[in-house]
Amino acid sequence: MKKTKLVILALFFFVIVGIVLIPYAQFKKETLKEVKRIKERGQSLVGMMSLSSTAHLESKSNNSFLRELSQNAANREIAYCIIQNDENKTVILFSPENIHEQVPDIIKNNSLFKYGLIIQDFSTSEGHKFIEFAKPVFKDGKRVSTVRLGLKVPNKNFFSFENYILPAQILFFILLALVLGYYWTLLIFKRLDRIKINDGSSLKDINSKNDIQGMIKNLEDYLSHMKNKMNTADSQQEKLESHLKLSQFENNKLFTVFNAFDFGIILIDGRDMVFFINTYFLDLLGKTHDDSIDYTVDEVIEHEDLKSFIQQQNLVEGHHDANGMEMRFEETNPEKFYRAFSSNITDAEGAVFVKLIMMENISKEKEAEKSQQDFVNHIAHELRTPLTNIKAYNEMMMDGEIKNAEMQKEFFNTINDETNRLAKLISSILELAETEIGQLAAKKDMVKTDWLLEGCIEAVEAVAKEKNMIIERKVPDNFPKISGDKEMLKSALINILGNAVKYSPENGTITFAIKETDQMVVFEINDTGYGIDDRDIPHIFEKFFRSENDQVLNESGSGLGLAITAEIIKIHDGVIEVQSELGKGSRFTITIPKGDLLIG
């Protein structure tokens, strides 16, 4: 407390000293300024006077000069003016208050006998201060007179009213600052009082003493409270950092999952910057992670179709086309077909903060679509070709264009053959449709393989005979039985046996063998035909596939037979295999499980 008092006393002392020193310094400054001004004026006046000759002053302008002086004297500045000739005799004397009589001799002598401008100050017995300016006047190189001018120095009092205006102002502002400071402090402490501490009490409650000590105590409490708060904030920040790390970890986990996806993903933020792109998409775009992340969409995506898709999606915000956009990546994956989709991820207010672009491989879908399209085209072609023939041949006959009897016969035969071809084709298509329905259409029954064997041979025997071909049977003593649709199985075997006859030269041999294992029955058909080209073998069970070998093309066929056979074997959970050599012949092996023989 003593220390505080000493500080306050010291401050008070400095304020008082300051209040005294400031006006004193101001007074001194003013005085020096006034003396300087008087000296300048005196120099100027005496200089002017010394320019006029004494004679001139004596003769003509004496009175006017005196009048001028008396005007200046009225301003109480010029105390006296004496012009003395070379004999020190006073020529002109102007001294309204007879101050010249009080000029000390030493001043007078210095003025009269020294050369140049002489400036001397002196005080009278009454305490008034004067400055005497003296300057000799020369004519024809000879000193003819001396001008002495006395100017009065105003007698200023330090304790005058003007000197106290400034300290009074300073004092006023100090007092004002003290009063304002006091009330401002009170105001601050009042606000501190309102701050609630953790237990719900306010600082004022803790120390309601409404004095400086109380306020300081309040301030200390507040600072301690703030420190606690800061510690709490630090701990919260640590928590947040931990949450952020966790969230980053979760993000990375999510991105790892995205990278494993079998479709492309790009995530774009609100500034159109790519912040995630999975490896699938990177491969498609031929980019790396480093030249994609934190780049704009335009910089990352150079693919024209994809670029236009994204622009299109930006235009129709919120109403994206569910069908997406089909595109291809000729440079990185030229054989595949893709479809782009987009979606916007919005916040609670519905504002888009992430744009999601996905890329799906739709090659299989396109393949199925193409296969379906090809199938329809093939059926149309296969059906309309015999139909065209029937129509064309018939039209010419009806128009009477064919007059030759032989030709007419040929035409009728063609119409008949093509009608049969059409009917057979329709049967094949229906059969194919039935087999494609699969198990639903199959009528499972116990089928005797001897019945199958004889039925199939009977179906092709006539044609084989025409070509002088032998069909050999290789069968076990006891014919096995299998569970299946007998008509379907017969049809399957006839297709293979029929092909063996059709695509073999004359005089060939066909072997039809039946073998049995514990669970299976094996049908084996060998021929000595044209054989199948290696490149055709993977396709022979496809619908409408026909080899381009001349021996095959010379024979009529729809390309559906083996496709139907394969479907039937599949329905019976069997397997069909082919071995072939061009020019030597083929071997078709069909293995079918015996199945549940109790049926039927």
């Binding site: 399209q373 329809v376 085209n377 093939h378 149309a380 072609h381 296969e382 059906l383 309309r384 070709t385 139909l387 065209t388 023939n389 029937i390 129509k391 064309a392 041949y393 039209e395 010419m396 128009d399 264009e401 064919i402 030709m407 063609t414 053959d417 093509e418 026909r546 381009e548 093309l553």
Partner: protein, 127 residues
């Protein structure tokens, strides 16, 4: 009446080739025939027919490829190509429209209409 023009018929179906040959011969045209696109292309290059009737779906070289291969030839030696197809789809219509002097006809077609189309082409050309 010999019109002095040769028509090439390309089709893998022997009966179609036969009926068109008879029809064109009756109409005063000479005919050439090929059973696939490959043979057809060779005849176009070597024997320079005045018009070509071609199936679309053929082994070895189909009608689509044949047209694309012969289109540049037509700039120097124009000739009409009639594509005979079982089923025309928009994609096919599009590429056919892009070819020079090429039209299509759907199966089952009338032989008289094919001959009429060829007659009209040559009449227009004569003007």
């Amino acid at each position: 009446m010999d019109k002095g023009k040769t028509i090439l018929i390309i089709d893998d179906d022997v009966h179609i080739r036969r009926i068109l040959e008879i029809k064109f011969k009756l109409g005063g045209y000479h005919t050439l025939s090929a059973k696939n696109g490959e043979e057809g292309l060779e005849i176009i290059n070597n024997q320079k027919p005045d018009a070509v009737i071609s199936d679309l779906n053929m082994p070895r070289l189909n009608g689509d490829k044949l047209c694309r291969l012969t289109d540049p030839i037509k700039k120097e030696r124009p000739f009409l190509t009639i594509i005979i197809t079982a089923r025309i789809n928009p994609v096919e219509q599009q590429w056919i429209s892009e070819m020079t002097d090429t039209m299509f006809m759907e199966k089952p077609f009338s032989p008289s209409k094919v001959v009429d189309a060829i007659d009209q082409y040559f009449e227009k050309k004569a003007f």
